[in-house]
Amino acid sequence: MKRSRLSQLSASVLANAIYAMQNFPVMLINTILAPFGFLLIIFFVSHGTLLNVAIIGALIMTMVTSGTSLQGDLTHLKNDMKLQDMLVSSPVSPIIYIAGMALSEIVFSIPNIVVLGLLAVVFIHMSYVSAAIIAAVMLLTFAFSVSLGFFISTISRDIIEGWAFMGLISMLLATLPPVYYPITYIPLPFRYLAYLSPTTYSAMIAQNSIGFLSLSSSGIYLSWTILLGISFFILFLGIKRSRWREG
């Protein structure tokens, strides 16, 4: 028989996003509201001055969440439903499965991206170039968090381990980095901690592009280089070290 790659990709999207939202609409409400919590806090605390940054931050954070969700979903499907074993013993390739699952996380965040995107259009007056830069940053952020999520899911053997890793990832990608406010708000010795997280570079580039941070051109290059480097490294790790068939 002729196998359709499109079917194989859509299977993951249907299984992990569409059918889930269709059968449990409450999930949709939850995902739409999730990024607004922090956005509102920042908005109130800064008396509105950080609204721009916070909207961009929420967009970036949506991408990070997609990656950590991928990790949780993959681990759950693999360990509790043995779905991965079923798929290993079938004609679907790991790349297509994972690509489809990654896509499903994006589909899940579409409502979010739309709402935040509208807010960005209304409240931030940015050029097309800035918009493109932010889109690129979001894409890269998605790429590394999804790769990291995938990598972790293949090495965690049960849901408990998965949770533990997930906590660590969230800390690294979501809590440490100054996504909703400029990095200059963090006092110096602690700032170095933030530099450990790839998300920090995403945020710095995005904030710079809307004029909230002014990086020197070498600073911009450095941020891009680190972000790209980390993204490719994690992607490579995900592809290279992950296990489809067990050794």
């Binding site: 359709s4 059918y19 439903m81 779905l83 079923m86 013993s89 079938s90 068939r245």
Partner: protein, 307 residues
């Protein structure tokens, strides 16, 4: 017919150093239902996972339907489908959606997948549950939906790891009927630790114990291979029959069991009829064969094998 060849197959799990398979050798033209039996930890799941390309063996060769599954797993994955031990339906999808996405993952066009999913639900007699979420289904129905996923696919070789464990007797029998229908055009390789199930369903049985493959063959071949195809049961513990050739086991105070050849069974029966004892003669059950093979039958009285 699907030829399965294993040569010098070993699997040692690295972390614990557990030897799950030890020098498994096999060459069989399998058809219908091939059942792996063995107690917990015998290595059944490990064996299935290696055959179905989920797990690499530590050493050895496995050829399934002409394909070296160790070095060319992609080549066999078109033909196989597996329900792993302890697998379950995805809880946020309905029965039909669960089947549907599996077929899409296998690369079926959407329309085709829908048709196949519906026809599998019909075959299993569970069409009415198509749009129900798993938590609303009984354990038996859930298991049937799982079987429907692989049944609906084009795979010719189906692996089912303990498909009936934990089912009630009625559901189990329904599943047996389905498997008997499925086996007409697919090879089914299943595992179980219910010996009467293996005896009832299987065309061939493989006996695994502590990582070793002890025997493979039809139930009749297994009976012959142990040398005692018949079991005579005498319900009179005190009865003395001189010169028995066979394995004699005292089941309890009043029951004696003799495993022997057909000829010897005839001879014993003659004597028993003359002495008006109550007795039965049956082909040796898989359960008895199994215990003899794994060496757990206690020879309480004696074992005579005179010339």
């Amino acid at each position: 017919m699907v030829r399965i060849i294993c040569k010098g197959l070993y699997k040692t799990y690295d972390k614990a150093g557990t030897k799950a398979l030890k020098n498994v050798n096999l060459d069989i033209d399998a058809k219908g239902i091939l059942t792996l039996i063995g107690r917990n930890g015998a290595g059944k799941t490990t064996f299935i996972r290696i055959l179905s390309t989920q797990l690499k063996p530590t050493r050895g060769k496995v050829i399934l339907d002409g394909v070296d599954v160790v070095s060319q797993p992609e080549k066999i994955r078109n033909k196989i489908a597996v329900i792993p031990q302890d697998s379950s339906l995805v809880p946020w999808m309905t029965a039909k959606q669960n089947i549907l996405v599996y077929l899409l993952w296998r690369g079926f066009k959407y329309k085709d997948a829908v048709k196949r999913a519906e026809s599998a639900l019909d075959t299993m007699g569970i069409r009415e549950y198509a749009d129900k979420l798993p938590r609303k289904l009984s354990g038996g129905t859930r298991r049937k939906v799982m079987v429907a996923t692989v049944l609906s696919s084009e795979a010719e070789i189906i692996f089912l790891d303990e498909p009936t464990t934990g089912l009630d007797p009625v559901s189990r029998r329904e599943l047996w009927n389905i498997l008997n229908k499925m086996k007409e055009d697919k090879l089914i390789i299943l595992t179980t630790h219910y010996l009467e199930e293996a005896e009832e369903l299987s065309d061939d049985i493989a006996v695994l114990d502590r990582g070793r493959l002890l025997r493979v063959g039809s139930i009749n071949q297994l009976r012959k291979s142990i040398g005692y195809p018949y079991a005579v049961r005498i319900f009179d513990g005190g009865l003395k029959i001189p010169g028995i050739r066979g394995k004699v086991i005292k089941k309890d105070k009043d029951t004696l069991q003799i495993f022997c050849t057909e000829k010897e069974a005839d001879r014993i029966a003659d004597r028993l009829i003359r002495s008006k004892a109550r007795f039965s003669i049956n082909p040796t059950s898989l359960e008895d064969i199994f215990y003899m093979l794994i060496g757990d039958i206690k020879e309480d009285i004696h074992e005579k094998e005179q010339a």
